[in-house]
């Protein structure tokens, strides 16, 4: 009996020892900073306070109140929502479309196509954003040249405030659809072929089978893909940074919340106000996560 309890104690000690480095790092670089960020967002911590933290004063909710009255913040929030609400569904539909094609019974070389479609996912965002910047060039860009072939006049993709955000959406969809596609393919593979077979014998057409078998059985995959895409897209940063030369232009048309936070915090050193922006972003992401969970539950009931 004593042997067993000594054994248990040793196991507990080893367990704590093995989780300690990871947990310690997560507490130091995630948990405590998140709390510190909340505190910072209630102060006027600025460049002077970076040198001497005692210079910072508590200002209550003033940073948040100021954000509510800042048209640039609303612009950034609107841009970010546009990116999530237009880019998200576009990316997920492309992913699903590509997955359905790859999963088609008649397909040869599915592995090759899968690799090609997935390639943009592993590329470096900063590098491909630079590539797309030139593809979007109004005079020398390939995109306008291709559109010109079918008679569409040149668009100043990144220079025109109306087109800059759609241009970023398009690039992001190209870059990211392969990741979700892989997950959809795995989800589709998990659906037993016998179900489709049985439905076919019962006279169900391809569209009916998609609606009655594929869609409901793919629902958990949809939730996962929808959630990760939404959370990732809310954090939009490098695309507009590279494409607008770091300022979110033209006329703040590509300024995202994360880029706004970066500019406030790391360019102007208004750290209190930047922390407030980060918390608003957190709240928005948390809200979107809960909403999607709720919707999913609702559709299952």
């Amino acid at each position: 009996m004593r042997g067993l309890s000594a054994w248990r104690a040793r196991e507990a000690k080893a367990g704590l020892l093995l989780v300690a480095p990871g947990l310690l790092l997560l507490v130091t670089f995630l948990a405590l900073p998140v709390l510190a960020s909340l505190v910072l967002s209630l102060t006027d911590f600025d460049l002077y306070a970076v040198g001497d933290p005692s210079a910072a004063r508590v200002v209550g909710l003033r940073n948040y109140a100021r954000l509510l009255h800042d048209p640039v913040f609303w612009k950034a929030l609107g841009n970010t929502f546009f990116f999530v609400l237009v880019g998200g569904p576009l990316t997920v539909s492309l992913s699903l479309g590509a997955a359905l094609l790859l999963n088609h019974k008649l397909v040869r070389f599915a592995g090759l196509f899968r690799t090609i479609y997935f390639a943009p996912v592993v590329t470096t965002l900063v590098a491909v954003a630079a590539v797309w910047k030139y593809l979007y060039h109004p005079r020398f860009g390939l995109l306008n040249a291709a559109l010109g072939l079918v008679g569409i006049p040149a668009i100043d993709w990144l220079g025109d405030p109306h087109w800059a955000m759609p241009a970023i959406v398009l690039m992001a969809a190209w870059k990211n659809f392969g990741a979700n596609m892989i997950i959809f393919v795995a989800g589709l593979k998990a659906i037993p072929e016998s179900l489709h077979e049985a439905a076919r014998i019962d006279g169900a057409g391809a569209i009916q089978r998609f609606r009655l078998i594929t869609v409901p059985l793919l629902a958990p995959t949809f939730l996962f893909v929808g959630l990760t895409t939404t959370i990732g897209y809310f954090q939009l940063f490098a695309e507009p940074y590279v494409m607008s030369g770091g300022d979110g232009g033209p006329m703040n048309a590509t300024l995202s919340v994360a880029l706004f936070m970066y500019k406030q915090g790391f360019r102007w050193w208004s750290i209190g106000s930047a922390a407030a922006i980060a918390f608003v972003l957190f709240a928005v992401i948390l809200g979107a996560t809960l909403l999607q969970r709720r919707l999913q539950k609702g559709s299952e009931a």
Binding site: W7, R8, R10, E11, A12, A14, G15, L16, L17, L18, V19, P21, G22, L25, L26, F29, L30, P33, V34, A36, S37, L40, V50, H104, Y117, F118, A119, P120, V122, T123, T124, V126, A127, V128, A130, V131, W132, Y134, L135, R139, L142, A145, W174, G178, I182, I183, A186, P220, T221, T228, Q235, F237, A238, V242, G245, G246, G265, A274, A278, L281
Partner: protein, 274 residues
């Protein structure tokens, strides 16, 4: 029979069209990187260089010293991958197989923390690194990202399939817990550790926001930060920028092609309910 042939043709036509659109930006990047200066900025834009040249690459490595950034990126990505594998494997295995106090609540806490966007922690982490004298250092880039909740999950899921009998047998033979972790668990978990290593390597290689914030000295810059700075100064030099993009993207693509299976396993691991 005819219908089936038509369907086969249609599906493949769609797949090929998709592949062309997907590859076009990358192929043009490679092609433009071999053009002479100014060649890409002509109308209509040329698809292929008139005469392929390595001038842009020479400019990057000889005059702009991009080799230094390449080395920085490779070093940081390798160290981050190695550290991340060790730290997250230890925690993942412990959560999967060892009973210790507060295991359940700790794990639930990790689960909940997954929704926190990285940006929320960035400002305090920067101030913390500053007080530790780690701003503008390699450690400052790597350290905050070593422990990863996703990584711990990944290993935990895999390690739960290690049979308890095996661990107990080793205990009866008198092996210590750390010895069991090192000589039995780690080798058994090799596939998922490779996955985690590849994901971390590529994540660090491709990362932009954090190295941009931490690294102020251009000799310490990673490729992404150097490239973004280059694109500000050399905005007109399309061909030079494309050579820089090739140098940045190519290693990531090659690593992915070599270890494709491991990488894709990692991506799908979270998506499918077991």
């Amino acid at each position: 029979m005819r219908r089936k042939t038509l369907a086969t043709l249609g599906v493949h036509a769609a797949l090929v069209a998709g592949a062309v659109v997907t590859l076009a930006p990358l192929l043009w990047m490679v092609s433009a990187s071999f053009m002479s200066a100014g060649e890409a900025n002509t109308s209509p834009p040329p698809l292929l260089p008139g005469r392929a040249t390595l001038d842009q690459y020479r400019e990057l490595f000889v005059r702009l010293n991009l080799g230094r950034s390449f080395f920085n990126s490779a070093l940081l990505a390798s160290c981050a991958a190695l550290l991340s594998v060790v730290v997250n494997a230890a925690a993942g295995y412990a959560f999967a197989k060892l009973r210790f106090p507060a295991r359940g609540p700790l794990f639930a806490g990790l689960l909940a923390a997954m929704v926190i966007p990285g940006q929320v922690a960035m400002l305090p982490v920067f101030l913390l690194l500053r007080s530790m004298g780690l701003v503008n250092s390699y450690a400052g880039v790597i350290l905050p990202g070593v422990a990863s909740i996703f990584g711990i999950f990944l290993v935990r899921q895999f390690a739960s399939s290690v049979p308890d009998e095996l661990l107990d047998a080793a205990r009866i033979d008198g092996a210590g817990e750390l010895r069991i972790f090192w000589s039995i668990v780690l080798p058994l978990c090799r596939p998922i550790l490779v996955t985690l290593g590849v994901l971390t390597f590529l994540g660090t290689w491709n990362d932009f926001m954090w190295p941009l914030i931490v690294l102020t000295d251009d000799t310490k810059w990673t490729l992404t930060v150097a490239l973004a700075s280059l694109s500000g100064e050399h905005v007109q030099d399309t061909e030079l920028m494309m050579a820089g993009a090739v140098v940045t993207v190519l290693p990531a693509l090659l690593l992915f092609l070599a270890l494709q299976r491991s990488y894709i396993d990692g991506i799908t691991a979270g998506g499918i309910k077991e």
